[in-house]
C-alpha cells in the first residue's frame, strides 16, 4: 500500500522533472549562443518572477487563467476527448461575464453580482463546448476538428460584436462593469501593488479541488474516466458513452469559460478583443505537463506562468522568445519522457522486487 503510493508518486513526478532538466540544458545552450551566462539569465528570470512581489503577483495572475484552461483540457482528456477549443471557450466566458456585469444594476452588491457573472462565464464556455460535444455524439464529428474550427468562428463572432456594437469608441473593448468586480490581491497585501493578481486565483484553486473530487470521488467521475480509458468496457458497464462525452465537453468548456473572469472581473473590468491571448492553447501544454491531474495542472500552470513572466525579465539579454522555445522543449520532453521514464523506473524496480 505504502510502496504502491511511493511508486505512483515517483511515476507522477519523475517525468516532469526529467523534462525540466532537458529544458534547462537546452536553455543553457540557447543562452550561451547569445554570449550570455546561463546562471545570470536564470537568476534574472527568477528574480523577475518569484523574487519580488509584483513579479510573483503577475505569475499568479497568469497561472490563474492557465489553471482554468489546463483543468478544462484535462477534463476532456480524462473522458478520451481532446478539447482544442479552450481558447474560444475562454473568450466566450469572458464575453458573457462582461455582458452580465453590464446588465446587472450598477449598485448590485458583489455578493450577488459576482456569482451572476461567474455563472454567465461558465455558461458562455459551456455553450461553446457543448457544440462539438453534440456534433460528436450525434454525427460522429471529430472533436479536434470541430473545436479548432469553432475557435475561428467564435473568436470572429466576438470580434465582430465588439468591433461593431459593444465597444467604447476608438477601442476594442466594452465599457467597464461597475458591480461584479473581484478584489485585487494588492488590496490585502500592499506589496503586490500594480500586479493583476486577484481573488480569481482562490476560485481557480477551488475549481481544481472540485475537479479532483468530481473525477476521483464521484460516480460521474468514475464513469467519465471509464469512458476515457475503455469506451467498450464502459458501455458494457451500462454507461452511456455519448452522454458522458457530451457532459465532459460541456464541463470542459464551462471550466475554460469560467477562466474569463480572471481578466474581466479581476483585472480590466471589461471584455477586450483578444484577451485570451493563447492561454487556451497553452492550457493543452499545462494539462500535458500536469498529467491531467488537478494538482499537477496547478503546478504546471505556475511553471508556464513563470516562464511567460520571466521572458519579460530577461528580455534585455536574450530575446523573450527564448522562453517560448523553452516551453516547446518542455512539452516535447514531457511527451517523450512520460513512457520512457516510467519504463526505466519499472526496470530499476524489478531486480529489487524479485
Amino acid at each position: 500500500m505504502t510502496t504502491g503510493l511511493r511508486e505512483k508518486l515517483e511515476e507522477a513526478l519523475f517525468p516532469p522533472v526529467v523534462a525540466l532538466l532537458i529544458a534547462l540544458v537546452c536553455g543553457d545552450l540557447l543562452i550561451l549562443s547569445y554570449g550570455q551566462s546561463p546562471a545570470m539569465v536564470y537568476r534574472l528570470l527568477l528574480e523577475g518572477t518569484w523574487g519580488n512581489a509584483y513579479g510573483f503577483g503577475q505569475v499568479l495572475y497568469k497561472a490563474t487563467t492557465l489553471t482554468f484552461t489546463g483543468l478544462a483540457v484535462s477534463m476532456g482528456i480524462r473522458a478520451g476527448l481532446f478539447n482544442v477549443g479552450a481558447e474560444s471557450q475562454l473568450a466566450a466566458g469572458g464575453f458573457l461575464a462582461a455582458m452580465a456585469g453590464l446588465a446587472v444594476s450598477p449598485g448590485m452588491p458583489g455578493i450577488l453580482a459576482i456569482p451572476i457573472c461567474m455563472v454567465a462565464a461558465a455558461v458562455g464556455g459551456g455553450i461553446v463546448g457543448a457544440i462539438p460535444g453534440f456534433l460528436k455524439v450525434k454525427f460522429g464529428a471529430h472533436e479536434v476538428i470541430v473545436t479548432i474550427m469553432l475557435n475561428f468562428v467564435v473568436l470572429a463572432l466576438l470580434n465582430w460584436a465588439i468591433a461593431t456594437h459593444l465597444n467604447v469608441p476608438e477601442t476594442l473593448h466594452t465599457t467597464e462593469i461597475s458591480s461584479g468586480r473581484l478584489p485585487r490581491v494588492e488590496s490585502f497585501i500592499g506589496a503586490f501593488h500594480g500586479s493583476a493578481a486577484n481573488l480569481t486565483l482562490i476560485v481557480a484553486l477551488l475549481v481544481a479541488v472540485a475537479v479532483w473530487f468530481y473525477l476521483f470521488r464521484s460516480r460521474q467521475g468514475y464513469e467519465l474516466r471509464a469512458v476515457g480509458l475503455q469506451p467498450d468496457a464502459a458501455e458494457y458497464g451500462g454507461i452511456r458513452v455519448g452522454k458522458i462525452w457530451f457532459r465532459a465537453m460541456v464541463l470542459s468548456g464551462a471550466i475554460a469559460g469560467l477562466g474569463g473572469i480572471n481578466y474581466v472581473l479581476g483585472y480590466k473590468y471589461y471584455y477586450e478583443e483578444g484577451f485570451a491571448g493563447g492561454s487556451g492553447f497553452l492550457g493543452i501544454a499545462v494539462a500535458l505537463v500536469g498529467r491531467n491531474h488537478p494538482l499537477g495542472v496547478v503546478l504546471a500552470a505556475l511553471f508556464f506562468a513563470t516562464l511567460s513572466q520571466g521572458g519579460l525579465a530577461i528580455h534585455a539579454f536574450v530575446p523573450k522568445q527564448m522562453v517560448e522555445v523553452l516551453q516547446g522543449v518542455v512539452i516535447l520532453a514531457v511527451a517523450m519522457s512520460v513512457p520512457e521514464v516510467r519504463r526505466a523506473l519499472r526496470q530499476a524496480r524489478r531486480p529489487a522486487a524479485a
Partner: protein, 533 residues
Amino acid sequence: MSTSVAAAPEPGAHAIRMQGIDKAFGAVRANRAASLDVLAGEIHALVGENGAGKSTLMKILGGLQKPDAGSLEVNGNDVTGWSTSDAIAAGIGVVHQHFMLVSTLTVAENIVLGQEPVSGGRFDRSRAISDVEKLSEETGLVVAADRKIADLSVGEAQRVEILKTLFRGARILVLDEPTAVLSPPEVRELWTVLRKLRDAGGTIVLITHRLDEVIDISDTITVMRAGETVARLRTADTTPAQIARAMVGRDVALSSRAGASALGAELPEAGSAQPSPPSSDLPSALNVTDLVVVGARGTCEVDGVTFSIRPGEILGIAGVEGNGQTELVEALAGLRPIASGSIRIGGVEVTYRDVARRRDAGLSHIPEDRHRRGLILDYSIADNLVLGLQSSFASRGMLDGTRITDNAGTRIEEFDIRPPSSELPARSLSGGNQQKVVIAREMGREFSVLLASQPTRGVDVGAIEFIHSRLREARGAGKAVLLVSAELNEVLALSDRVAVMYRGKFATVLPVAEATEDVLGEYMIGARKDSAA
C-alpha cells in the same frame, strides 16, 4: 520480376517445415511445440478456432515474430528467426485479412509500390500498368490496372493483394481467412485462382475455420488447438466431422466414421431430436423470440433465433466460432442493436432497454473479451468490482469508498482472487485472476439471468475448475445461465440443454443426454439441421 510461381522446388519436397515451435506472449502460450509441414505445390489448410495459435505460427513464418523454441525450414534451408525482409526475399507472401492497400492510388501503383519501374528518375506509369497487366494475365487474377483501390469491391481488392505478393516474387502464399469478406461467387473465383497458382508450382497455406471450404479447396490439412498441432490430415481421407472434432474436442483420436456427413451432400431434413423440455413448469427466466441481428455489412448475423431458459437451467451454445454467437450474446446484453424480435427477462420486456436497465432487470454478463469489455485495465480491482454497479455504490452522486473497499475484500476472498490486494490495477493480474474479477462482479450481485460467454478462455486449469463449479452453483441457486463456449467439452459438461449455432440460426436444441460430440459435430458443420427457422 513479374514472376513466379514457376520457380519452386520440385513438388513433393518440403516447402515449409516448422517443428517444436514455442511462442509465449507474457503468460499466454500461443504456440506449444506446434509443427507445420507443407509440401511444395500443395494447397494446405491451417484450421483451428480463434486463439488456437494459427496467426502466431504464420507470423513466425513471415518473420514478424521470432519463436522461443523450435526450428523453421523453408525450401530445405534452416531459417529459424529470420526477418520479414528475409522472408519476402525467400518468396513468402502473406495476404492479411485486413488489406494493406493505399486506397487513393490505382491498382497498378499499389502493386508496384516499393519496386516501382523507373525511367529517367521518374515513375514509369505505363510500364507499371503493362507489368501488372502481364502478371494479371499469367495468373488469371483479373483486375483493371488503372482503377483506384477505393472504387474496387472487396473481392477485387483481395485480388490486388494477391497480385502484390506475386509481383514481389512470392512462391509460398499465405492467405489469412481470405473468404471472411467474400461472397460465394467470389469465393469460387478465388478457388479457381488458387488452383491455377498451385498447378503452376506455387505453394499455398490457407488459414480458415470454415470446414466446408477446407474440404473444397485443400490438399492437406493441419489442425491446431490451444497452441498445439493436433492433427495433420489428407483432405481426401477425412470428413468435416473429423476435422471439427480435432478442432474443438478433447479427444483427437479420430475414429473413422461413415462419410455420410460429408459436405455438399444433400442435407438430411432430420426432424429427429426435437428439444424435449426439462421436467419443470417454472416460468422462463429468459425468453428470446425471433431475434434478428444485422451486422455491419448488412448480413444477418443472428437470423431468427427463439429460445427460453428456465431458472436453474444452463443452456449451452456450441458451434464453430463466427456463426453468430458473439452477436447473439451482445444483442441480449444490450450492446448491439436488434433488427427485430423480442427479449424478456423474468417476463419483463427489455428489447428496447439499454444496458443499465437490463442489468437492473436481473441480467449479468461475463463478456467473451475481458480486456476490451469486461475490465477497465487501469482501474483497481476494487473499482473493477463495481463496474456496472457504480450507481448502487454511490450516494448523492459521490462514490462510497468504504463500501467499495469492503465489497472488494469480500469478493476477493470469496472468489480467491490473487494477489488479494484491492488497489492493484486489473492489468497487473494474470488472465485467470482477471477473469475471476469479472466473474466475482457478475455473480456476486443480485441476478436472475447470466450470460457466460467463453467464461474459461485463456484461463489456467485451476481457474477453469473454479469457474465451472461457480456456474453449477448458480444453476443450483435457481439462476438461468446461457453458456457460449468454443470448448465442446465445457458445453457438454455444464449444460442441461445444448443448442448448436450455424450461420446465425439454431441448427438444433438437444437435451444434453442426446448430445454427443459426433452428433453436435454434424450440426456444427451444417451437415444436419432440425429447425425450420
